[in-house]
Every structure is written in structure tokens, then in C-alpha cells.
């Protein structure tokens, strides 16, 4: 399934990445996916936890060069 939205959260620290993801997810339909690029280490824990709580599916997490992490979430 193709990605519906890309969020650039690089440079942002807690709580801004989570706030931006949660807001963006409201605009997605069930089954659609969002990718997020961030640099805050806390988001690596917070986003999977939030997905578990909300029932959204945490699809993937990849560490890239430059301390950037790419995370993909699928809306439930």
C-alpha cells in the first residue's frame, strides 16, 4: 500500500513530533499510511507505544544517516 503522507519532524523534540503525527493521522482514512522523519530519540519509544494504545499499526522503523529515523504508521 502506498504512503499517503510524509511528515518532516527533524529537529523537533518532545512533544512536537507526537503532536504532529497525531494531528496528521486524523486526516487519514483507515488503511492509509504515514511516514515520519524525526531526530528525537524519545519518539522511537513514544510512537510505537501510542500505536499500541490507539490500535494503529506501527509498520516500520529505520535508522538513516545523520541521526534521522524513518517511521511508518498505518491507520487502523
Amino acid at each position: 500500500m502506498e504512503l499517503k503522507m510524509t511528515l518532516d519532524c527533524k529537529g523537533l523534540s518532545c512533544p512536537m513530533p507526537m503532536m504532529k503525527v497525531a494531528k496528521a493521522m486524523k486526516d487519514l482514512k483507515s488503511g492509509e499510511m504515514l511516514e515520519m522523519f524525526g531526530t528525537d530519540p524519545g519518539t522511537k519509544t513514544d510512537l510505537p507505544n501510542w500505536c499500541t494504545k490507539t490500535g494503529n499499526e506501527f509498520m516500520e522503523m529505520t535508522d538513516l544517516d545523520g541521526g534521522v529515523t524513518r517511521m511508518v504508521v498505518k491507520k487502523s
Binding site: 523537533l12 523534540s13 512533544p15 512536537m16 503532536m19 541521526g67
Partner: protein, 404 residues
Amino acid sequence: MSESKEKNPLVQLFDTFFGKHWPVWVGGIVLGLLNILLFAIKSPWGASGGITNWGDNFYSLFGLFSEKGVTAISENNYGMLVLLIVLGSFAGALFSKEFAIRIPPKGEMIKGFLGGSLMAIGATVGIGCSIGSFFSGVPALSGGAIVFAIGLFIGVIVSLKYLLWEMEKFPGWSSGKSYNFLAAKPNKGNWQIIIGVIVLIAILLLSYSYSKDNMVMSWFIIISGLMGLISQRSRFCIVKSFRDPFMSGESEGAVGVIAGLAVSLIGFTVIKIFGIGAIGELSLRARELTWVFPHFWAKAAAGGFIFGLGMTIAGGCAVGTLWRMGEGQIKLWFSGLAMVLISPLSNKFLVPVVDNILPQSAKFRNYLPDYLGYDGAFALVLGILLLWYWFVKWNERTGRFSAF
């Protein structure tokens, strides 16, 4: 043979500590225990006093606000504690290869400075920050600390509403160019571990340098370094504990803080009842009143509210600001800078005005055992912690009060 069995046991131990983040409740419990140790050897954990000491030393370089004389940072337990929280977190971030200089968009740096300024005002008016007046004040059985916590709670709610409004109306304020330097490459970056070892050795040598003449400082350095490292690994943050139930609905941060408070409550009560550390001229009564500040109720309410506003805008409480500085978050460097610069100004110009306005009945030491006995005070604080735990767990399940 599985991969984990092939690993050297020491490497496995290192991975346990630095391979992934710790659960916040583990961090909370260990921080609570270390806080008891600090109290046993002198006085509990606090941050704003040390930050003000940094500010006083800065202004004294220009001959400002130093009429009464300023204690050098190197001689001030809490001035050193602030430095060691940053260094301990720096070591923790390096060992886990999470260190990077993270420069956010401009709007975020402005919010960092603004949030830090509000925290400085809140901590000076309220006589203590999220650590001294809350994380240490509540288990110290201080009535003012409970009022400070209510103020924090209201401040966080108001500030969170603001952040949600800002994100809706002015999303550009938290967007724009950002930069990331010195980050470790995936599956590489062992240089960070080497620097981490150097930082750790430097902390140990610093502690050793005080061991002959100032054993209290020597242990303050070790314990506060550990506090910084543990806070970074568990991402322990007071603002998270107050904010997340009303933002994402998650309870993990709150449970971590509640666990730390519960552990400290037991240790602090024992220290106060038995007068542990009450030696020399320090009377038993003075030991009982340790970390019970003369701020009940109005100063605590106002200070807590302003501090709550600030820590939510900054995205880090007092300790959350310090350990995020250690992992290279430049937004929080702006918060820390504002706290250092504004605290002495607030002490000099704002606090005397507030003190003149408020009657004595709105700024006195309220020691709960004086009214309820030790049994009643202990039960009251434990009851509040259980109620808070029940609320965040119920809210996490129902999403009743969470924004998303």
C-alpha cells in the same frame, strides 16, 4: 546457537543498560532511591537553586546582584548537581549512541527560551521547581508541595491547550530548517562510546578531587551524575507525567513519577521520623522541615502554575531540560540559558514585590505531620498517589480526557 548466547556477558550487560530505553517506572524507582541517599547525606534533590547559583555567578562577573556574595559553583552542592545532571545525561546519550547536536527550527528555539523564562519565574516565586517543590517536596510531607502540584497541573493544561491551538493556527512556528550534527551512523559510531568512557572517568576524577575535604560534594557528584544518566535512559520527565494523559492519553510517564514519589515517600518519612542526619547544630525539627518551603499556599499555587506553563512550552521540566541538554537538544539549551539568566532577575525584582503583597498566612511552612501526625500525612500523600495512578490508568483505557 542463538546470537545472544554468543555475546560476551559484559556486552550483554552493556546492551541491557544502553541498547534501548528503560521503562520510565524503573527510572522513577531508581531516582527515588538516589533521592533518599541525597537526603540521607545532606538534603534532597532540587534543580532551580543550582540553576540560580549559575545565574548569580554569571551576573557577578559583571558586578551585578552580588551584594551578599555569591558561592562559587564549585563550592555549591546544587550548582554542581546541575552540571552533573547534564554530564551524566551526556554520558548516557553517548553510551547509547543517541548523542547529536539537534538544532530545531527558529520558532522552537524561541519557545524554548520563553518556556525557560517562565520556569525561572515560577521556580523563584514558588520557591522550587518541578523537582525541589514537587518530586522532593511531596514526599517531604510538605503541604505547599501539594498546592504547587495543583498549580503545575493547571499550568500544564492551559499550556497544552495553547500548543494545540498554535499547531492548528500557526503550524509554521514549529516548522522550518533544522540541523543535526555529530549523530552516529546506523550500526557505527563507536567513537561515541569512547567519548562516553572519557566523560565517565572525568566525573569519577571530579568526585575524587573532593573526597578529602568535602565528602558530601564528592557523593553529590556521583549521585547527580547517575541521576542524569538514568533520567536520559528512562526519559524521566515531570512534564510528560502531567501532560501525556491529556495529550496522547498515555500513562507511562505518570506511572514512572508516581513510582519515584512512592519510594521517596517511604525513605523521606523514615529519615524525618528518626532524624537521620540530624547532627551537630542541625536540630531534629530542622531535619523535619527540610524541603518544606514557606510557600503555602499562594506562593506555591502561583509558582506552580507559572512553572507548569513554562515546562509545557519548553517541552522539558527542570530535570527534563537538563538531561535533554546533555543529549544535545538545542531547544532545551535555550530553556536552560533562560533559566540561568532570568532566575536572578526574578529573585531581585519580582519576588520582593510578591512577598510584599502576600500576607504571612499565604506564604508559610505547612508541614503536614503537624496537623495530621506522621500516620495521617503519610496516608494522605499515598492516597493522592493512588488516586492519580487510578486516574491515569482509567483515562488511558477510556481516552476520556485525552486530546488524541
